[in-house]
Symmetry: C2
Subunit: 195 residues, 2 copies
DNA sequence: CTTAAAAGCAATTAACCAATTGCTTTTTCG
DNA sequence: CGAAAAAGCAATTGGTTAATTGCTTTTAAG
């Protein structure tokens, strides 16, 4: 046996994310992934049923990390506005470390071809939006946000701001530090939220 | 001869945009485009040198329309804030009428594979941002925006808001009217801009 | 009406790619 | 140790696709 099943699966997932960042989805072939991992192309299929199953595992791994960020936030004893600020900082920091994320998750291939993968990506998106909306709601009653704020609508736009910023970062070939945008984003955002 | 060169080219461009919306980029083959237009697959290559040349023409067509919206705005005698508001309305309205736009322009394929197509998409993006920044600058001196506004930085975030909203619309299978988001977007945006 | 150019198509090609098969090697565990 | 199970690979398969070729039909200009 080579390496254990779980380790190989994780290697394949990471190789896939890295290759997505470097070469885009067209060249993201099982051959390319296998070469990056250092195994033969058919060996990929000892660990994943199909190519889509690899993508599914990648999305699952990304989801796990994003949700972990959201959960860590729950346990912090801070006012709602400071927790929202941290949420933005940390999600951008996580995305900034994994360039493959926008290339894969914003790809039309997942959205149109595979209903399961589309659903998985949507769930990530909707859980982030729901968390932001909950923070806005909480902060509104605490008095740290405007009282006439629509939490749902505002959460959608904050999500759009994050996604749009990540998309620009990807479009500009990752030519700036995504993490550094968090502070500027908050400066832009705060006047709309404050009481 | 069938139809004239220019008419066929335009038919191919529109078929490509429509198919991008319906089926995504993977199934956007020369065969599929030809079927939609009603010609044989090799005939495509009488009108375009390569598949990428088709994409280039599509992007060119989109750019033309977007720039026309920007130019029309120049001639309107309105305060800067109202012109910015109209810019958002009209760009979202245009995108809302052409579902293929996000599928094609946000695709990684253009960004990674073809340097020319990537440059073309970036130019569209940067001209919109530059226009927004100019409007913000103008409005700041006119007194209809905050005086401590950073026009460049703010323009980037307004662009991110638009792109993020269009991305959500695409991700949700165009399940809401994009044009209707413009008003809510402005409501969200105004508190950050007003003096 | 004539003819050259443009537009069209059927058939083919070369390249690419996900997935399968059949066999060998390595690891795990009783 | 020894055998079952897991992991590995070379070779191949079947399907897909952009682009070419060679030929025919249609259009437009003189």
């Amino acid at each position: 046996m080579g390496k254990s099943h779980d380790i190989r699966r994780q290697e394949i997932v990471e190789a896939t994310l890295d290759l997505a960042a470097e070469q885009g989805l067209k060249k993201l072939t099982t051959q390319a992934i296998a070469e990056r991992v250092g195994i033969a192309q058919p060996t990929i299929f000892r660990h994943f049923k199909s190519r889509d199953a690899i993508f599914g595992a990648v999305i699952g791994w990304v989801a796990e990390n994003i949700f972990r960020v959201l959960e860590q936030l729950e346990s912090e004893q801070l006012a709602a506005d400071q927790r929202l600020r941290r949420l933005l900082q940390r999600q951008l920091a996580f995305a900034g470390r994994r360039r493959g994320i926008p290339r894969l998750l914003f790809s039309d291939r997942l959205h149109v071809e595979s209903p399961e993968l589309k659903a998985a990506v949507r769930e990530i998106y909707q859980r982030i939006i729901a968390r932001i909306a909950a923070l806005l709601q909480e902060g509104r009653t605490q008095g740290c946000f405007r009282s006439d704020l629509d939490p749902e609508q505002t959460a959608l736009f904050i999500g759009a701001l994050m996604q749009g910023t990540i998309l620009r970062w990807s479009m500009m070939d990752f030519g700036f530090e995504l993490e550094d945008e968090a502070e500027a984003l908050w400066t832009f955002l705060w006047p709309t939220l404050r009481p």
